[in-house]
Symmetry: D2
Subunit: 336 residues, 4 copies
């Protein structure tokens, strides 16, 4: 049984980590920090966790004792916390953007922050970096949009079939975090759809960098907020450089993701939905249709808080510690 | 490992049984029937169950071999299926209304059906009938509204503090079943609230009969359909015959439900929410406020498909077979 | 053409006043104030009003010139603004709670405020006080819950048929105002229902005082927040002192509301819905069912921002100035 | 005052026609047909129209007397009804797809129907065909997706700046019609997003044909169903053949749509939302952002039942009869 800490446990991703780890047979949350809610039982913030006997603690990162710490802290905050943990020999999975980029210039440009404490890290997408994750001290957990987008494009990029993709994503509102804003106020976003940062969301360059390791591709990304609690549906439009059929593409994806525990390649024409993966760590990928103009459409669906954040983080932990990869992540989606 | 059958597995409660049993360590679904979808993989109907390798079968009840069968069949259909199974020595948990009533006249009046095959059964609310369930051959799984309403009223009824209760319930749309109707069509019920069967819902007499065993009480029940997928929130208004305080009531509930694995008695003034129990088998009970007119308000929340149907059915199975009561039901709610 | 001012025009009720008055043939909004958004075009805050050429102004109430001013200001703020306007001879319709109560002690107890500037006012429910409104200088526009609840109970109270009513109300989230909060954040309230101030909402005593002028009745009120943008559905449970039939009650309501332009008395058993009155000034009242315990259920539905706030305010204005009562309020609800 | 008939008045578009025409000063609905609901008051189907005194009639098209008829009939049905009306000298606005295509082969291929009764018609998009509509006997009202998509692309097509566009549309569920289906059942589509007919929706070729008159462009169209009652948000991705700036594009749109009563060209970076046009006949067009890969994004929002169907039909009627174009369509959107 390993001891696990969560820094910044009062947000949605913190809540998800606690929820999912509750049934883990080899890991236990021993400390969950929150400056705002010090000494408050976690169920006051996460009412669904009423039967979990845990209180938020206000504790300095350097005083944490644990085998692994999840830093569910804001961009810019992580870079001041992670090094302290690494120095103590604690393994870290960071859910912020601070350690995701190989190219620090890209990070600093898009996040408007100076990376004060660069460290060696592994990008925590197991479908690409499983071997590196096994040995990592610091895993940078991928962004929510990049998880769905990269998984949807990866087999095509790996075959160098695409030089330009349009990634049109639709995200549930929990992706905006637990802090209420004008746009996430119920009457604003219910019965509505709101595109935002239409050509300037920082997850665009994250997708670009990671796919760019497989082929030379220009990623054009646009996110939309939709009246959904959880989930990201990503519609990828591309014009493959060669003439491909749906069946060919389907086979490509089947082969590429063979054995992956959390990627389900659907049948040709079968449609991924958010409800199929709600609350689960699965990514559904499907559609594979080609139209008269040679456009190929791939669609993926994930739960932004699970495969797009906390579930993937736990998956990474399972890999780092040699646990069964599906431990505590073995439930199907919640539909309806 | 016991073998479990599900008759009528293509509806919401059937899907929930399969979802929840997927992680059960002592029970396995070996047959899931559907006349409409014979030989179709279950994920074509339940897209979230894509990784469960099971096909619907069209099979006569008398040909089923299993240790236990869940009959997720319509009212009126169950009474023709259950006896065949019981005759074969198979234990049955029936999710219809056919075997819930002690008083057949009440059943026949409210369901407009003749009970052709009366059988001895136990009403499957473990919080009342745990000992009887242990020995039962046939358990009649409670209705969704009655589960939330009875649990909210039971400690008061047990103390004979109430002679009249108003049960104002708000149900998610999955309670209306998987078959689309005019009222459950998205544009009809989204952004809307629709009371229905305002004084004539048959769950009223079910609540009445079960509470009536504890005290002489008149139950006035009104259900509302609300734009929610899952969940029933029940607001119980009563005028206790004695002067009670919130703290007294809270203590009453704490004592009554002590040790119950799935009932959480909240603090005074703490508010049950649907999201706290979404996807889980918990029932949250709280509020306990008394107003200037002597009205006491108790509120309960459940997931209508889990504690209100399939989860409670599995709880009953666990009791019947001596399994750990929380087996496969151990997950917290899905919030947000 | 009269000139109309709106103080506090950047909230939901302010937006509704501008939206509805846009087509008024005898009134024109000449000033819309907002301290926060001084000199900002109103469509930056109210994106649906993009074609209305108006900017928010930061202006002292004493500098406003108008025939009528709507004060869409918070409780406690109105009492410092209204007297200045009245002194200048401007008629005022106040949308706060400051001038709604005859009994100042009740106001001060429930609002936790001292009424510094009491003034003579008329309670702006035209169905009761039409004649007084005609001559009023200051109209106190009713609360949203009281509008739906009083209209549902009034004919019964007028006949002295009730001595105790339970008012179980379900409100859309816009009732909580434009300012985002933890509870109104989309992931908190979507797919959820949250009762609040279960026995202590200050609209309870407002309903009590107004119905109390018709008969001696104890009002027990409980509000719930539901995942709906607009609308209040009010379910009134009562035990009439005499044996009444649905048809008798229906006739009572028909007679009482005969000629009222905005109250629709539905058929017996016909169910009011929020979608029927969405965006409109109508109140639908129906159900009229009596159960075996002698409980009578009346249900009403309104749009909380229109009949429950801005539409009713314009109705009052139309009465005060002798305009056609339906002027600018003549549209049906928006369904679906 | 002209007399107006509606054939197929029990669907959503029929309801919208009646709702919107209720305040028209020069047109009156004198007959509303429904085979299914003959002699039923319209409010039994359209509960928001409770105060409109009209009953559905079952009446043969050839027996209708009117100045204009809206045929809100299914594809394939219209072609058998419209000629009878035209023969009687009645002007017709057809809301089906039967008369939208110049190229009958395209129609027959995509609708799987033989056009038995071809007639001369004008495509009822006033922003292109105002002059032709003025003189038309038969107007083919555009599809809902094409309305939003064509308006978003038109100024670019007119300048021959695009040779390929990706149209990624998100539609509210009312677009699927009033008849409930598995996919539109509330628990299926709430909290979900479902792409459908990913590369094979027949509105694709409609957009293609109409834009094709302005420039040689390949249209790649994908629709998604989103948990929204009303509205279509269309995100158009294109790679203009020349280097363009946001400001240049904005000016292009301003000039193109100058004087159009129902098209609002937003500021650069201002985001169209469904809530801004809910219930109204406006189309908002905005964004105009260009990314590092030279991709230009244009976004449009409409209410699919109003500008995308019944409102546009009334706009066409106003043009055909020389009425004020905004008559009965003059209300802003309903936000929140």
């Amino acid at each position: 049984m390993i001891e696990v800490g969560i820094i910044g446990a009062n947000g949605y991703t913190g809540g998800e980590l606690i929820r999912l780890l509750d049934n883990h047979t080899e890991a236990e949350v021993t400390v969950a920090t929150s400056r705002k809610f010090a000494d408050v039982p976690i169920y006051k913030v996460h009412p669904h966790l009423r039967n979990i006997d845990l209180k938020f603690k206000k504790i300095d990162p350097s005083d944490i004792e644990a085998d692994l710490v999840f830093t569910a802290t804001p961009h810019g905050a992580s870079m001041n916390i992670v090094p302290q943990l690494i120095d103590k020999g604690i393994k870290v999975i960071d859910l912020s953007g601070d350690y995701r980029f190989d190219d620090l210039d890209v990070y600093e440009k898009w996040y408007g922050l100076k990376q004060e404490n660069p460290l060696e890290s592994v990008y925590g997408l197991p479908e690409i970096y499983r071997d590196e994750i096994k040995k990592a001290e610091l895993v940078a957990n991928p962004g929510c949009y990049p998880t769905g987008a990269i998984l949807a494009c990866l087999p095509l990029a790996n075959e160098k079939l695409i030089d330009k993709v349009i990634v049109d994503s639709k995200s549930g509102v929990s992706g905006a975090g637990i802090k209420p804003t004008d746009i996430t106020n119920y009457p604003s976003i219910s019965d509505n759809i709101i595109p935002y940062l239409v050509t300037s969301h920082r997850h665009g360059p994250e997708i670009q960098e990671k796919l760019g390791k497989f082929c030379d591709v220009g990623v054009s990304f646009t996110p939309h907020l939709v009246p959904v609690i959880r989930g990201i549906l990503t519609t990828v439009h591309s014009f493959p450089s060669e003439d491909v059929s749906s069946d060919y593409v389907k086979e490509l994806y089947d082969n590429f993701y063979k054995g992956e525990p959390f990627v389900s390649v659907l049948d040709v024409g079968e449609i991924p939905r958010l409800s199929s993966v709600r609350g689960s760590n699965y990514c559904h990928i499907g559609s594979f249709d080609v139209d008269e103009n040679g456009r190929l459409v791939i669609v993926s669906s994930i739960d932004n808080l699970v495969k797009g954040a906390s579930g993937q983080a736990i998956h990474n932990m399972n890999i780092m510690f040699g646990f069964n990869e599906k431990e505590s992540l073995n439930n199907p989606g919640l539909h309806p």
